[in-house]
């Protein structure tokens, strides 16, 4: 492993350390404690606890131990995949995250596939013919300006209520008896609107990356050579220019893959899509801090993982990086 990758790995370890410390320290830094919350009751019937019971509970949950020791036991738990117990779902947080993560992944991958394929098509075309570019630029900037949850709510009304082409919420129909292809179509039908909304936010940056990358490659001597040889235009366009130009695009795709999972939270909430983003929102509503922290950790872990894989891929594709 090169020194470049070593440095990146160190940064990511630091990121994880910061996320873990935030998770541990934030709830302890604010006034109040879980037992006070229990006896004041948030929406539940308050329980009056006497001092002895309070102390017994405190030592049972380890809240009377020194902070450092608590941190150590928290880390030990995280290391073996124990992220605590969700009080609202009455289930281990790690199981809940595992259940919900595939849905977020489906939305993210689908929306990125959509936006990047359109971006590659339009971006390379704009690089070739810069004249009519405003026809792409204007709607792209317009759509990028509408925050995804606003665009989503308008589409929901338009395509979900006025012209009921798409379902309003959820990821699949309840009580449906379809199997095989029917299920796949049903899931795709539910995912279509949220995917579309998410893809509008990543289209424009992707388009810019594709365009500048193609512009850089387009006038390279080897492309000129291919033109002089009289190769068909399509061969030059796809096999010579686009293939080389896609390297920075792939790196950018990795970056978007890492971060758009977190960015999907608002859209998942709007469409009641059962992903991790919706889970984090439910955790906020029900004051389920273990779940909230678990979801935050999951998002961070995902970012770190994808970033590191992208770094490794990039370093192996472009050896110059290693020397930086």
């Amino acid at each position: 492993m090169s020194s470049y990758l070593h440095r990146r790995a160190a940064t990511y370890l630091l990121v994880l350390a910061v996320a873990l410390s935030l998770n541990f320290l934030l709830p302890r830094a604010i006034p109040g404690n879980p037992l006070e919350d229990l006896s004041s009751g948030l929406g539940n019937l308050p329980i009056q606890l006497d001092c002895e019971t309070l102390e017994a509970l405190q030592s049972y949950y380890g809240l009377d131990r020194p902070l450092l020791e608590q941190f150590r036991s928290y880390l030990r738990g995280v290391a073996i995949g124990d992220l605590g117990y969700s009080i609202s779902y009455r289930a281990p947080v790690s199981h809940l995250l595992m259940d919900r993560f595939p849905w977020t992944l489906l939305l993210t991958l689908g929306s990125l596939f959509l936006s990047f394929s359109v971006a590659v098509l339009l971006g390379s075309r704009s690089a070739r013919k810069p004249k009519g570019e405003w026809k792409v630029l204007l709607p792209a900037v317009l759509f990028e300006s509408v925050p995804p949850f606003v665009l989503g709510s308008l589409l929901l009304i338009l395509l979900g209520v006025k012209f009921p082409l798409f379902p309003l919420s959820g990821a699949y129909s309840g009580f449906s008896e379809s199997t095989g292809l029917g299920t796949v179509l049903d899931v795709a039908h539910h995912a279509a609107l949220p995917m579309l909304v998410l893809s509008t936010s990543s289209f424009f940056p992707a388009y810019l990356v594709v365009k500048s990358s193609v512009l850089m490659v387009k006038d390279e001597p080897y492309v000129l050579m291919a033109e002089i040889k009289g190769l068909p235009e399509k061969t030059i366009r796809y096999r010579y220019v686009l293939r080389t130009a896609l390297l920075p695009v792939v790196t950018f795709l990795g970056l978007r893959l890492a971060y758009s999972a977190g960015g999907a939270i608002l859209v998942e909430v709007l469409f009641a899509y059962p992903g991790v983003g919706r889970l984090i929102y439910e955790a906020v509503l029900s004051h389920d801090y273990a779940l909230l922290q678990g979801a935050f950790l999951a998002f961070t872990l995902w970012v770190v993982l994808i970033n590191f894989v992208t770094d490794c891929l990039y370093a192996s594709l472009d050896p110059r990086v290693k020397e930086v």
Binding site: T11, V141, S153, I280, W302
Partner: protein, 282 residues
């Protein structure tokens, strides 16, 4: 040397910049209007619930009978306040840290940039939500969180610029004549980087508007202030609203305003970027 006048003129010369500036002016006008005049106090019940637009309520009323126009105006004030404070805060902090890191690239720079890397690698929205849950839902806290998460990006750009600026002859001359970092910062860096800082401010402002609206939409904003995000949340939470026609005057105005605000700041940002690029190629 860049000046305000110079930047405004080159911004005005392109359609993107002109439209963006006009949008910002309109928004500022609306926000200032709301300071001195508003049809009704935005939180007061001033008519029947879900009344369609008429003479007394130009944009109708919401599910509680509060006047929509008054809420849109006060939301404009809140969004602009967030936009201006977050962009000022994050750009000045990013500028300070970035130039310090670029000016002292060896030890200080390495430490500063490592913390920038770490802050930028943490997924933003989940972190904002986590912080917003544990801090009190006050507008001041939301602004602080947004500044805290926005400055690293600015710092990274500024650092790379300062790294090359410090090797320019004029600045090397100042350095070897005994001008310290504060002097170079005040006299040279800020003037050289001024247009870039403006472009970054516009981008930070549009991000801040989206983020604040999103937080209010999730119910993590300041519940005492009628912001656009809170209006959208209220409309979508209202039972059966989607099937009535009330969404056209309750949901649509804040949606259009948020988008318009983001659009104006984004266009201004692109305009400034473009002006910068033209200047460099001249």
């Amino acid at each position: 040397m860049h000046t305000w006048k110079h930047m405004t003129v080159s911004l005005w010369q392109q359609s993107a910049g002109r439209f963006g500036l006009c949008g910002i002016l309109v928004l500022t006008g609306l926000a200032l209007t709301s300071l001195i005049w508003s049809p009704y106090p935005p939180a007061d019940i001033s008519g029947p619930a879900l009344a369609p637009p008429d003479f007394r309520h130009p944009l109708g009323t919401n599910g509680l009978g509060q006047d929509i126009l008054s809420q849109v105006l006060s939301g404009c004030r809140i969004s602009l306040l967030v936009a201006v404070t977050v962009s000022l805060g994050s750009v000045s902090m990013g500028f300070l840290v970035g130039s310090a890191a670029g000016y002292h690239p060896r030890r200080l720079g390495v430490v500063l940039m490592r913390s920038v890397d770490v802050l930028m690698a943490i997924p933003r929205l989940p972190l904002i939500i986590l912080l917003a849950v544990f801090l009190r839902p006050h507008l001041f806290n939301i602004i602080a969180v947004l500044i805290f998460l926005s400055w690293p990006g600015v710092a990274r750009t500024i650092r790379s610029q300062v790294l090359s600026l410090r090797e320019q002859d004029s600045i090397r001359f100042v350095r070897f004549s005994g001008g310290g970092f504060p002097y170079v910062l005040r006299q040279h860096l800020i003037r050289e980087l001024f247009p870039l800082l403006l472009a970054k401010s516009a981008m930070a402002a549009s991000y801040a508007i989206v983020a604040e609206a999103g937080l209010s939409f999730l119910g993590l904003g300041d519940p005492t202030l009628k912001s656009w995000g809170l209006m959208i949340r209220g409309a979508l939470d209202y039972p059966g609203l989607l099937w009535s026609s009330a969404w056209t005057w309750w949901l649509l105005p804040p949606s259009v305003m948020v988008s318009l605000a983001v659009f104006s700041f984004t266009l201004t940002g692109y305009g400034l970027d473009e002006a910068l690029r033209r200047e460099e190629s001249d």
